[in-house]
């Protein structure tokens, strides 16, 4: 039963790595979505205020 520690180590490693990766993806996606929302908001405000630097009908 001494080999149980190896079995445990292997499966723990798998889950830790998977979890870390999924968490990383989730974090990245959230951050990117936030950035997209901010950029869209910024662009919307720009075109709504009709600032002079805007090209008409862009």
């Amino acid at each position: 039963m001494a080999n149980l520690s190896f079995l445990f180590a292997a499966y723990t490693a798998i889950w830790v790595l998977l979890f870390l990766y999924v968490a990383n993806i989730a974090r990245r996606n959230r951050a990117l979505q936030r950035e997209i929302d901010e950029l869209r908001e910024f662009l919307r405000r720009q075109s709504a205020s009709g600032s002079p630097t805007n090209q008409p009908g862009s």
């Binding site: 080999n3 079995l7 292997a10 990766y21 993806i25 996606n29 990117l32 950029l39 720009q46 630097t53």
Partner: protein, 233 residues
């Protein structure tokens, strides 16, 4: 929104199949007579290895399609497949030695398959670094595609070369027991379920990672739009 649905559906599928696989590995399958309890690592190690190569095949395919068609879709797919593939490759290289140590008394064996997987890992790493260090997004996509294609053509050759390298040379071990020792149908069933679980996992990870790529493209597009609208003339 299909995307949200995809996240949850694929995630749930993965969760369920994984749970089934774990249950079978720990509660159902009999212990291997020769290797003892450690052998159960096999049921996750092998599907992970298969998925690594499936992912790399996808990188190769997407790379070729990208060079041919030039659409963002293929490049995003290639990048996602490479990142996810690298994860699976890491899993193989971590579980392999952990399995090998109690069985053969050594952490690393220059076994043909494990060595090829190591080289594949290095190629994956080179791929991701190339994307990181290339000048701009278009260049990154193109160069990575070239590497994807060359790499995929090379892998079978590397595999052959390493295999010949091992078998002609007296070695600690020649081949690793693959599926050859699976007489018991319960073992076969467990492996099959595990395989399905890992396939689901691959699908889910590709889906969510592809979302990341899509979001990155969107950010890029919005930045371009921002620049376009604020440069006069």
């Amino acid at each position: 929104m299909t995307r949200r649905f995809g996240d949850w559906a694929l995630g749930a599928l993965t969760g369920i199949t994984m749970l089934a696989a774990i249950a079978m590995v720990f509660l159902y399958v009999p212990t291997d007579k020769a290797q003892g309890i450690v052998q159960r690592i096999f049921y996750f190690h092998v599907p992970a290895a298969i998925m690594t190569f499936v992912a790399f095949g996808l990188v190769a395919l997407a790379s070729a399609m990208f060079l041919w068609r030039g659409t963002r879709f293929w490049d995003r797919l290639a990048h996602s497949a490479a990142e996810v593939g690298m994860l699976f490759c890491t899993l193989v290289l971590v579980t392999g030695p952990i399995w090998a140590r109690p069985i053969w008394g050594t952490w690393w064996t220059w076994d043909a398959r494990l060595t090829t997987t190591l080289i594949l890992w290095l190629i994956y790493a080179a791929y991701l670094m190339l994307r990181e260090f290339a000048g701009n997004v278009d260049q990154a996509a193109r160069y990575a595609a070239v590497l994807g294609i060359v790499g995929s053509v090379d892998i079978p050759i590397i595999n052959r070369a390493v295999y010949w390298w091992r078998t002609i040379h007296p070695a600690v071990l020649i081949t690793r027991e693959g599926g050859s020792g699976l007489g018991d149908p319960r073992m076969q069933a467990t492996l099959l379920v595990s395989f399905v679980a890992f396939a689901a996992l691959l699908g889910w990870l590709l889906w969510v990672r592809n979302e990341t790529a899509r979001l990155q493209d969107e950010v890029e597009r919005l930045h371009q739009q921002l620049i376009a609208e604020h440069i006069p003339g």
